[in-house]
């Protein structure tokens, strides 16, 4: 980093992880160079002043807002994108330990105005053992299905080039006081010796049905089951066991609530199955070095390339809808010719129009001193664990969803691991569910790692074919044994524990509809500080990125009139002007992405 940049950034900015551009040199070795554009406030100095005028002002650099900024900038809008924080990402940011501390303090300060979070409890028993900048902690961690609108957008917009993706193959379910891994692929169903031939056939039939469920015929058949609970539907039609149904519904479907209806259940499982084996035998990806926060930055970079202006540390104070003038708390003003978009978390102090926050997500984030590699698939460093309803001693009504991030994810040092637990349960009950799930995870990892004789690093070789041609398969259940007779001899060291509640106007099944936006524009009085401000939403409880692009598109069409030209840009490579970059004539973008995914030769 150059001296001028260093000196121009505030102390709070100095406390940050290396940015994408710093982590990755502008020109990579190998044949696919990719230039990472600079981002004001990170590698470049922060703008000294706010410009006089812009077409669209966006307050908050959360993921939805960042996608919107990039889409508008590429459409030709003059975008000013600001954030009240000294970092990017807003409510979906990725933070260091010091930033988390400051964030907790501000959450608990109970300042007037909109509160997106509350009750942040932070516990750091050994501060000396935590080097703040070694950590990337997501406020709203998410995983990305391979077949998803966001991944398509990342590829189309070429933002994926600023990121690094890793896969997750292992999805564990807590059942009968132990963990099991679902047989969800054709391979697993075929080789799992614990399944009878009849069950194999039924499971495969169900999987095929789900994959074909978008066909007109099946969609029509499904109409009959419109109001049937999903669990009842599979029990009746496919004769599967309750444990299998739980796995389908909560682990493959990742449903955040119980009692989902058939159509919802089918589409959530389809999301998993259709993502499987697109780029390899895994359904889900996540971005290395942090989730939504990294993605937000990626889209901001893209917006910056298209001409958007960035300014951090800028809190909106009021908006004068008659003269279309936005004023910030430092007194600076900007004329907004078209629209002001604002995240509820960045609303002016006396805002009146902020969307109602009806729903809650309670999160528990811990850093443990264990690699937890026992839970990861060979070569991977993340996993998903689900506690279905009524599997915890607290008789949890809602499932507890857990994302496990090992050191290979670039989010914590070696020998450590971050566990993200969350539930849509509310209040004290939510905290109890999370604590109990945490202790089950603790028992499990101690048991697994203690039993050194049981090598859980499963590889392809687990399929044993004897010289005589017969085949036997070691079941790929990694967390198989029951807890009951287990007495841990060591204790797990927690380095960090953070619990907080997050509020949102988006329900757990997270699809935002456009009426939400039309409503915010109509409501309120002309004299209020936020009349005619277009509000986005706080992040939902959805564990995947689904719904994010939909919301960005809805905001986009609310501003532009339609989403026909949402990212309708031909991203030619301007970075290099040699013919060698003309792969576009030979391979399409998807292929190119696949190459980068699959091969590390």
């Amino acid at each position: 980093m150059s001296a001028t940049v260093e000196s121009s950034i505030k102390p709070s900015m100095a406390e940050r992880r290396p940015s994408m551009a710093e982590r990755r040199p502008s020109v990579q070795t190998g044949r696919r160079p990719s230039v990472i554009p600079h981002l004001a406030g990170i590698e470049d100095p922060v703008l000294p002043t706010i410009p006089d005028q812009c077409d669209v002002l966006i307050c908050g650099t959360g993921l939805v807002e960042s996608i919107l900024a990039a889409a508008l900038a590429w459409q030709g809008s003059n975008v000013l994108h600001v954030d009240s924080n000294p970092y990017y990402g807003d409510t979906s940011s990725t933070l260091t330990i010091e930033q988390i501390k400051a964030w907790c303090a501000s959450v608990n300060r109970n300042t007037p105005g909109f509160q997106g979070f509350s009750k942040a409890l932070l516990y750091i028993p050994r501060p000396d053992q935590l080097n703040s900048r070694d950590y990337s902690i997501d406020l709203t961690p998410r995983i990305m299905f391979v077949k998803s609108d966001l991944l398509s957008l990342l590829i189309k917009s070429r933002v994926y080039r600023y990121l690094e993706f890793q896969s997750i193959s292992n999805f564990h379910t807590f059942e009968n006081d132990s963990f099991g891994k679902m047989s969800s692929s054709k391979e697993e169903i075929f080789t799992d010796q614990s399944l009878s031939l009849a069950t194999k056939r039924q499971l495969m039939k169900f999987m095929k049905f789900v994959l074909e469920s978008e066909s007109a015929q099946i969609a029509k058949d499904l109409e009959h089951y419109k109001s049937t609970p999903f669990t009842e539907f599979i029990k009746e039609k496919y004769k599967l066991t309750p444990a299998q149904i739980n796995e389908l519904c909560y682990t493959l479907g990742l449903s955040p609530t119980p009692n989902i209806l058939t159509i919802e259940g089918v589409s959530r499982i389809r999301r998993y199955l259709s993502s499987f084996d697109v780029y390899g035998t895994f359904p889900v990806l996540y971005s290395k070095f942090g989730g939504p926060g990294e993605l937000s930055q990626g889209f901001c970079r893209s917006a910056a390339v298209a001409g958007a202006t960035y300014k951090l540390d800028s809190q909106l104070q009021s908006y004068d809808s008659n003269n279309k003038i936005a004023t910030f708390t430092d007194g600076s003003k900007v004329k907004v010719t078209e629209r002001l978009v604002c995240s509820p978390s960045q609303a002016p102090e006396n805002a009146q129009n902020v969307p109602e926050k009806k729903y809650e997500v309670t999160r528990l984030i811990t850093i443990v001193k264990k690699s937890c590699k026992e839970w990861f698939f060979e070569g991977e460093s993340a996993a998903v664990v689900v506690f279905p309803p009524e599997t915890l001693p607290s008789n949890n009504v809602y499932p507890v969803q857990v994302i496990i991030m090992g050191s290979g994810s670039g989010c914590c040092p070696q020998g450590q691991c971050i566990w993200y637990l969350s539930t849509v349960e509310k209040g004290e009950k939510a905290r109890r569910d999370l604590e109990e799930a945490l202790s089950k995870l603790e028992e499990s990892i101690l048991r697994e790692s203690e039993d050194s004789g049981f090598d859980v690093e499963l590889t392809d070789e687990d399929v044993v074919s004897r010289p005589d041609g017969s085949i036997s398969v070691i079941n790929s259940v990694k967390l198989g044994k029951s807890f009951k007779e287990f007495v841990p001899q060591e204790k797990l060291t927690y380095l960090f524990k953070l619990m907080f509640t997050q509020y949102t106007s988006v329900e757990p099944f997270g699809v935002v509809n456009e009426n939400v936006f039309k409503k915010t524009l109509k409501e309120g009085t002309e004299n209020s500080v936020d009349y005619q401000v277009l509000y986005s939403n706080m992040p939902s409880a959805e564990i995947s990125y689904d719904g994010i692009v939909t919301e960005a598109k809805l905001l986009y069409s609310t501003i532009v009139g339609s989403d026909d030209d949402f990212f309708d840009v031909d991203f030619e490579d301007d970075e290099e002007d040699t013919l060698a970059r003309n792969d576009s004539a030979i391979v399409d973008d998807d292929d190119e992405f696949k190459d980068e995914m699959d091969f590390e030769l």
Binding site: G76, K186, E187, D460, D468, D570, D595, D598, F599, L601
Partner: protein
Amino acid sequence: MLWMLYSKKSDTIRDDPFRASLERRTRLTKDTRLQKIKKDAVRIARYRALTDRVLDNKQNRVYNGKTLAQTEELLDINPELYTVWNYRRDILLERFKTCDSDAIHDIIKNELALSVEHLRRFPKCYWIWNHRKWCLEYDPLTNWDAEMAMIDTFLKADSRNYHVWQYRRYVVDRMKLGQTSQEQLDTDLQEFNYTTKMINRDISNYSALHNRSRLVKMLFENSPESATVFHTKNKYEFLVQELQMVKTAFYTDPDDSSVWIYLKWLLGDYFIGSISTEQARQVVETAIADINELNQLELEDNGVDNQWCLKSLVFLEQQLAKATGVQSGRKNAILKKLIEQDPMRIKRYENSMD
């Protein structure tokens, strides 16, 4: 044409609140279009100039480091230019003349690394695979482990890539040339186990089943001592075990044609002809019973027979008759069902009628 549509729209709707952005869009699209046309013209000129330069040098037989680099540049853009691959090989052959085997190996190592880069982008390009084979022919010190690792990576990415499987068989054959006869047998056995692994990963992997069929034949012919079934040439025992796998497979997915074609081979003349009549009768009857049971389940669930079950039953009835010398009389009834349910192949069924 999109931008014209938009500009029209903004002309007619005077009060369009979105007019500003529509106009911007018009401007932007127009600009980028012009830019693109210009850029393309530049690219074509550059590509043609490069091609001309390379082909002229080729005609003049200019073999040096610079022309070698030029072929690389051109093949990077278009790996289908077989003429340029040829030229590249001529340059390399010229270079080999002054090299010892270590130096040749180093040059080829570089060629192989380059071709991996190409294959990452064009995994189905014949010319690149062929170039790789050509390289191995000239490499006195091939690292076979590295080759096999490279093949594994590509088959992991696409387990049905015809070219990769082809290359794998080629590499194994080449590798075996330098092995003792015991080592060769072990290699075949390893290859057989590899097909097991690939089939477990995906039972529809017909490429793996194909390779398995030829390895089984090879193993029965050459009988390695470490492999009991193959060593004792006990085809019956192998068949029983293999049929168990096939049964699991067709239960898992009754519509997977790969497995049914493989079953047809297992119960075809190669095996049936070399076990006892009693054994043949037993395996075929067991298979018929299993398939009938599966078809019954399919019938209950779907309301129709499973065509693969029926097709296989026809074949098995034929084999049973062959083994026992007695016609069961069931075959024609099954064929009649097939004629009704699969009219696309009606002629084949009619021809099979007794």
